[in-house]
Amino acid sequence: MSRRKTERLLNLVVCLLATRRYLTAEQIRRAVPGYPDSDEAFKRMFERDKEELRELGVPLEVGSDQQGGGGEETGYRIPPQAYELPDIHLTPDEAAVLGLAARVWQRASMADAASGALLKLRAAGVETDAATPAGIEPRVDTGDPAFPALWEAVRDGRPVAFDYQAIGRTSVSRRHLEPWGVVSRRGRWYVVGHDRDRGEERVFRLSRITGEVVQDGRPGTVTVPDGVDVRRIAFDWSGPVTEPRPATVRLRAGAAQGPRRWAKDLRPVAAGAAGSADASEWDGWDEATLTFQDVDRFAPYLARFADDVVVLDPPDLRDAVIQQLKAVLAGCDVPGGTTASSGAASGGAAAGATGEARGR
């Protein structure tokens, strides 16, 4: 923005704030220096200026009053009560947490908005430079390229469309969404809304949106149903709830520290009672009980510990771990990549993971 334009816009704001009557475009042109003589050029410039002020958040009121100089012609004004930030006074401890909050978005796409807000609050007399509480630095990252467009869509109540690559799907699919909110957990962002293709509420993970998020409707056409809690929709997994089950596992002494953190009844494998032909094979091993819910998730977790963890029971978990390990051997045997058929053949094992389609 050139200095001249800044000056003109500033004059325009002051002029429209100072007036109680609606001022017509012609009256504004006479009062505010810097507009061109040509009618056509003035009209164009004035249109752009109005747009610029609205983007800045200036409440430009359009109307007419009979008593005004413009008769019934459309005029403009900025009502001070709509323009002005109401009084706000913060105590030093309040200002300190506000300063901390404003820093949360550093490097993220809301950072500009946060500093803009801080600027206005400072202008209102708030001292945000007060020492922020020592010893803690919270940060939120919004690195997903889809974030800014989705936030704007939520803010403006506007439907969107995007390509989505769900886990376990072999291709992207075009999704049409009325977004209700964006939420983050463990550093990952999700958008919640009404899926127009499925006719149901859905959750999408932002990192799986490929390409651009485009507008797919007019602003103000998305209505968030009463009582909708976007957090609950995003974070409540409505998958089938299975009863927790106990598993008996053997853990190599001094290893498998992960499972040991929550193992119960940890005891050394009794000599000779190992149920194995060669009891010495289990010398230095412990036996323990672990609780689990989902075989499809738990088996890969245990497989990760290789020959430091052996599942004795239940049989379905034991088999799942064996299948998992066999798959590793098989996958590595094919240099240059698993074939499509090996992916397809794994349908059963992958079924648990596709539960992730809901977001995870």
Binding site: L17, A102, A114, T170, A255, G258, R318, S342
Partner: protein, 355 residues
Amino acid sequence: MTDMTTDETPPGAAAAPPAAAAGAKGRAAGKAASAKAAASNSTDRLARLLALVPYVVSRDSVELGQAAAAFGVSEKQLIDDLNLLWCVELRAPDPYCPIDLSYEGGEIIVTEAESIARPLRLKVDEASALLVALRMLAGIPDLQDRDALSRVIAKLETAAGAAAAVSSQVAVEVDVRGDTLGRLRQAIGAGRRVHIAYYVPARDENTERDVDPMRLLVVEGNTYLEGWCRRAEAVRLFRLDRISELSVLDVAAEVPDTAEPIDVDAGLFRPSPDDVRVTLDLTASGRWVADYYPCESVEELGEGRLRIVLRTPDTRWVRGLALRLGDEGHVVAPAGLAAAIRGDAARALARYGMA
């Protein structure tokens, strides 16, 4: 899900160009920065001008240097702003200059401010940015004076009015359990050394160490203790949910002057020239790996399959990852690593009586 980036990561071990640091994230940050630069040339200036007058008015008088610092501009720029404000004039019905100010002797005084004596209302974006952040802080137990947080949230909601409404549609949750955070804050406040038992998933190791705490970080939804690790004799990050035991020692913390705090805003993942490059092929079901680990490159292989390249100083965790992936993916390179993984699986199967 485990996360190798922060298992005791030596921060800043290698200075990497930020764009290369974390793939897509690095690029996005760069984009945001240039957008910010562009904006500061345009609407930012008008916003600043409209805030400048009330800033001075609400404080009676302000020194040039203080105002420049508050607005993040040079004194020269600030003087230019003040001159521009002073030039505001209206020509009709009668010509007059509504703003009168001076900055003689380096002291700004506004004698006439007219209609712009108050700052502009908060925009929806602005109110939301602060409210979402404040509510996130309020969701962290023991983090802050909870009282101050709820008071400032209430005041801000009132001041923002309708602009505050949408902020409830954005939420950031931070996972914090137990009393570790509160006790560490106290230790930091009291300047005390702590002893921790710390689990390192990447190596499946329990470690014990003394740490001189520096500060707490909340990054990407996780909380970390940053401190001088007396075992490693270096600054280290410890994820709070992996601290299994914590005792605050009756010893004063001694953080060396040379200890550099981690630049959180540059991201936690710092590749080093000594890193091993690991290539993994993933099936459509294994794509989640690309979401959870910082990748140097991600290549679509068609039908939902991916080829990713990770960089890591320690490949032990990759062996665990490969076992966990099963048929969802496998290590392509280095060949030695792929062979080691095969060996892991074969030895484990032998334990089940299968060769």
